[in-house]
């Protein structure tokens, strides 16, 4: 029992440190890649090629003054970033980093839990995270914040559906809701080959869930002056930011798990493949951000309901037919 507890605590600590490091360095990747896409250099003054920049930003965040506006609903205002970061960091628990390894004669699994309903839990908790943005916008007592929060809520509801439809297609092919089983079912052939449409659907809806650029309605800088986090400063703002990047990491990890074969890969299977694919997906998130302009709000809504939702339903139907005909 003691041994089990020790292993669990150590694993939790390692997983969270790794996840938070990836979160911190996602900001560095974002700034660096955006810089190079725009033919600039990006950060390069703090440390070697700006590698210490996330730490400097963190220190700055801690030492800045915290402001709570007079109009704000104070308890909710304080609670909102906590919900945001709490929900998105909790998701790390369910990410399968790798298969079982043997260290000092003990079999250790490279994931914290393997729930039978892992993917459902991920969808559920990531939706709770969006409450952070909505409540934050509402509690700021600022019109931009409210509009940003409302837009975030509407967008979340619209795209969560199509996201779940994409996941259902994968679950049908893999025959399990557990993330580890889904990865193991892709040993020979990755799901991206079996389910290319679900892959595209998942990426589009995932970007909408992340509030990333083609769909960054809640924080549209140009029209809403940063939306739901407009009144936040110092570490509260940093928490929103960390939640966003943690969400991005989980999204990248989910794409890897559901479609790109998780820790499977050529030559040697292992967590290195997982991290390689995850970092590629994080890079993709930044890459597409640098490419696409923001959609208009009505375009986002009609795209979600009129194109993606029927597309997702059709994909499930075709998958079902395919499985029926080939008797899989």
């Amino acid at each position: 029992m003691l041994e089990f507890m020790t292993i669990l605590i150590v694993k939790t600590l390692v997983a969270f440190v790794v996840a938070l490091l990836i979160v911190a360095y996602s900001t560095w990747i974002e700034r660096k890649v955006l810089g190079h896409v725009q033919l600039r250099h990006g950060p390069r003054r703090v440390g070697f090629h700006g590698l210490l920049q996330p730490i400097a930003d963190g220190v700055k965040g801690f030492f800045k003054e915290e402001l709570i506006p007079d109009n704000a609903d104070k308890p909710l205002f304080v609670l909102a970033p906590i919900i945001s970061i709490g929900a998105s960091v909790t998701l790390v628990v369910l990410v399968p980093f790798g298969d079982t390894v043997t260290i000092m004669g003990r079999e250790i699994t490279l994931y914290l839990t393997d729930l039978d309903v892992g993917i459902l839990l991920i969808l559920g908790i990531s939706t709770i995270g969006s409450y952070g943005g909505i409540l934050g916008g509402w509690a700021s007592g600022n019109k931009y914040g409210v509009i940003g929060g409302m837009r975030g809520a509407a967008q979340m509801i619209s795209y969560e559906l199509s996201l779940a439809l994409a996941v259902i297609a994968v679950v049908m092919v893999s025959g399990s809701l557990s993330l580890v089983d889904i990865v193991n079912s892709q040993t020979g052939l990755w799901n991206i080959v079996k389910q290319p449409f679900a892959f595209v659907l998942f990426i589009i809806c995932g970007l909408a869930e992340l509030n990333r650029t083609p769909f960054d309605m809640p924080e549209a800088e140009a029209e809403l002056a940063c939306g739901f986090n407009v009144e936040y400063s110092s570490m509260k703002f940093a928490l929103f930011f960390m939640a966003e990047y943690c969400h991005m990491f989980v999204f990248a990890a989910l794409v890897t798990t559901l479609f790109l074969g998780g820790w499977h890969g050529p030559i040697v299977d292992g967590p290195h493949w997982f991290f390689l694919k995850t970092f590629f997906m994080i890079f993709f998130c930044v890459w597409e951000r640098s490419t696409f302009p923001r959609l208009r709000y009505d375009q986002v809504m009609s795209f979600g309901w009129k194109i993606l939702l029927p597309f997702g339903l059709l994909n499930i139907l075709l998958t079902g037919l395919w499985m029926l005909i080939f008797n899989i």
């Binding site: 890649v33 190079h36 033919l39 250099h41 890459w287 597409e288 640098s290 490419t291």
Partner: protein
């Protein structure tokens, strides 16, 4: 040139049915940019080469013996539009004139270069030093010693 070229054709801007190719084209363009060399320079360590006619901080020229060329005629101070130059002349026993004090307030100076053009003895010139920074207003008031060697004040990044 017909009228047609001036008409903004909406179907050109948003081609119906062409949805995926433009997206992929855009992604390819940004990826190409990502792998090409940045056009910005790493400023404090690298610096942009400025024109030979650049008008930066002033220098008081000295001759071979290390004495100022300036004879304190006061033409530069006279022509200076923002009146940034203050000269106190001095004449020694042999009748040689030189400036006892030569002060330029670099915060007032507009770097027009008139002083250089007005000078009959080619004693003052504008150098290429363009990034002098300091903490105090007093530090921008340059006396003879500072004016002899403006390159010392190039911003080094700290």
């Amino acid at each position: 040139m017909g009228d047609k070229e001036y008409v903004l054709n909406i179907s050109d801007r948003r081609p119906e049915g062409k949805f995926i190719t433009p997206i992929l084209k855009g992604l390819a363009y940004t990826l190409k940019n990502f792998f090409s060399k940045p056009i910005t320079i790493k400023y404090p360590t690298e610096r942009r080469e400025v024109s030979d006619r650049w008008r930066g901080l002033h220098r008081l020229k000295v001759d071979d013996q290390g004495k100022l060329n300036c004879v304190a005629c006061g033409l530069c101070a006279k022509i200076c539009p923002p009146q940034a130059i203050t000269i106190v002349p001095y004449e020694d026993a042999g009748g040689t004139r030189y400036p006892k004090e030569f002060v330029i307030d670099e915060l007032r100076c507009i770097f027009c270069g008139f002083c250089q053009e007005a000078c009959p003895k080619d004693a003052i010139e504008l150098t290429k030093v363009y990034d002098f920074v300091d903490y105090q207003r007093e530090d921008f008031i340059f006396d003879i010693e500072k004016l002899k060697n403006p390159e010392k004040y190039i911003f080094a990044g700290k």
